[in-house]
Symmetry: C2
Amino acid sequence: MADVAAEAHVSVKTVSRVVNREPGVRRDTELRVRAVIDRIGFMRHDGARILRQGRTQTIALVVEDLANPFYSQISAAVEREARIRQYQLITASAEGSPTRERGVLESLINRRVDGLVVVPAGERPAVDPTVAASGTPIVYVDRPVRGQATDTVISDNPGGVRSAVEHLVANGHRRIALLGDDAEFWTARQRREAFVQIHDALGLPGDAKVSMGPHTVDSLTERLATWSRERSPVTAVITGNNRVTLAALHAMRRSGVEMGLVGYDDFELADLIEPAVTVVNQDPTSMGQKAALQLIARILGDESPAQTVVMPTRLIVRESGRLPASRSLRKASS
Amino acid sequence: MADVAAEAHVSVKTVSRVVNREPGVRRDTELRVRAVIDRIGFMRHDGARILRQGRTQTIALVVEDLANPFYSQISAAVEREARIRQYQLITASAEGSPTRERGVLESLINRRVDGLVVVPAGERPAVDPTVAASGTPIVYVDRPVRGQATDTVISDNPGGVRSAVEHLVANGHRRIALLGDDAEFWTARQRREAFVQIHDALGLPGDAKVSMGPHTVDSLTERLATWSRERSPVTAVITGNNRVTLAALHAMRRSGVEMGLVGYDDFELADLIEPAVTVVNQDPTSMGQKAALQLIARILGDESPAQTVVMPTRLIVRESGRLPASRSLRKASS
DNA sequence: TCAGTGCATGACAGCGTTGTCGGGAAAACG
DNA sequence: CGTTTTCCCGACAACGCTGTCATGCACTGA
């Protein structure tokens, strides 16, 4: 900027004014400055600008695994909202480790990001004290965090589970089991509790059968085989998220057991496998968008009380929820 | 930092030394400083540090659509390599628009990111002049860019297409067509050219049939119907990428035509749909990793000539490449 | 005892901007 | 024509940190 100033015979401040389109520069001076800028290819150094102004116009997103479609959709949505509002997005993944998450958060706060969208890793005692102390606005997504009230966007897990169970029941299933993901995850636990509660509320026979992860195709194959060999066999399972659904589908294919299935999380091609998989769809795009908007509102000074937004889920009915018998009927008639 | 210095009765420089674990601080001074740091919750302001040191320890990734699994895998890989080496990753999406891409790049350079990994959008005349002028190292992924030599990581499109065609031919197919994506994409064009060339080289009957995108399920349904009604009908198609594969699968399901299929890009559950889809697998994770490593090498001063890395593809043989007849045989015998 | 050596520490400048303020010239006004 | 207002513009400091260099002190060896 000093170079430009020298070349154009003005002060750095005037160059600054031109670059930022501030008023108070005569037309011809502006043109002169612009000419020099173009000639020597000057580009404003935003680092210095940030240091001076105290705002980074950057938000950060911390997730577990960017390659998981659920998170990548959230990520795409957050990036989009941020970009539209002139914020840049730093994405970081904690790979599910609270330790790494701590480090990542610290580093982001050192950078003075204006705000954070976080899918908290594993079990956490409370809002991270580092973050809390920094005063950086933060919005949690998918899983809440214990401790003082914070903005949170989660999806309606009990509602989703209920819709799944009710759908199976409506299709004649009575012995329904849950294949949850690792109970370390809050969502997995919440879905488990909802399942047990609804199972009992509906007066389904026996105790609610639940198997929590982590699952492998092998372990699931065995599990399903066991369940289907019981005196009153399980006829349908609900899978706790996209990972489990995938593994369960493989296990079913391998072992040949035919069970009803409702998966948590929609996925591409769910309608093309046989039978087409009925799912509880969470809307990660909306969740990401909602979180980003809420965060930016906070950054812009919104002081209203912390808010927990519960996003509705939607049951996408395909075929896997029917009784195997009725599925064959459909096939024959089509 | 000044506050800490005052409280601890040392100079800011000493605080700086402690914070950065520089040598030359007596043990007791260090402890005193640390105590103050903890007490008042000081956190280093990396913005200022960056301004002083000239290095941002940040790289940026520009892709088309973060929600597309192909890009989200690249993104996850780049983030991982970056994080391991203490770089942060800014992710930005250009949504396929060269204009937006220009803006995004400019903004990233203003931030003085240390390097860029870019999946260039659409058609581009050459290396972006803004970027070129800034001297920021850049690595292109998935598609090269015309103009001066630059580091590029692409996958072996001709090889991938050849393996697909050969596989289909080996399974008895002769009338093979290509469903490419939008010819605006370099990869789509390259795969088309490879297809035509191999088609002719193998002496397959007739002209190589090609239909480029953008495709919809509707348009594909019609296209496939037309092809299968010809005097010598097309018996197998190759789809140009994951998007097209998905649409084609839906179209096939809807129209009931039975054709051989080899898809470009592997996808989850490809093995569970009926018939299991044979694919040409590119390895986005390796591509992202390779690109990140190359970029960081450049940042660290690697001056060797620009390099184009061609990543091999791998044909994952499942069932969709067989002739429909032999597929039924398999089903009956299993 | 004195010069020489090494270590711990501090003063200072400067990274590239922008906010504040003040000054001078031109324009407007009485 | 003198005075006030308006408009442009520049000087300067400061954002928070770190690299350089200087300083002072303790210790060593002759």
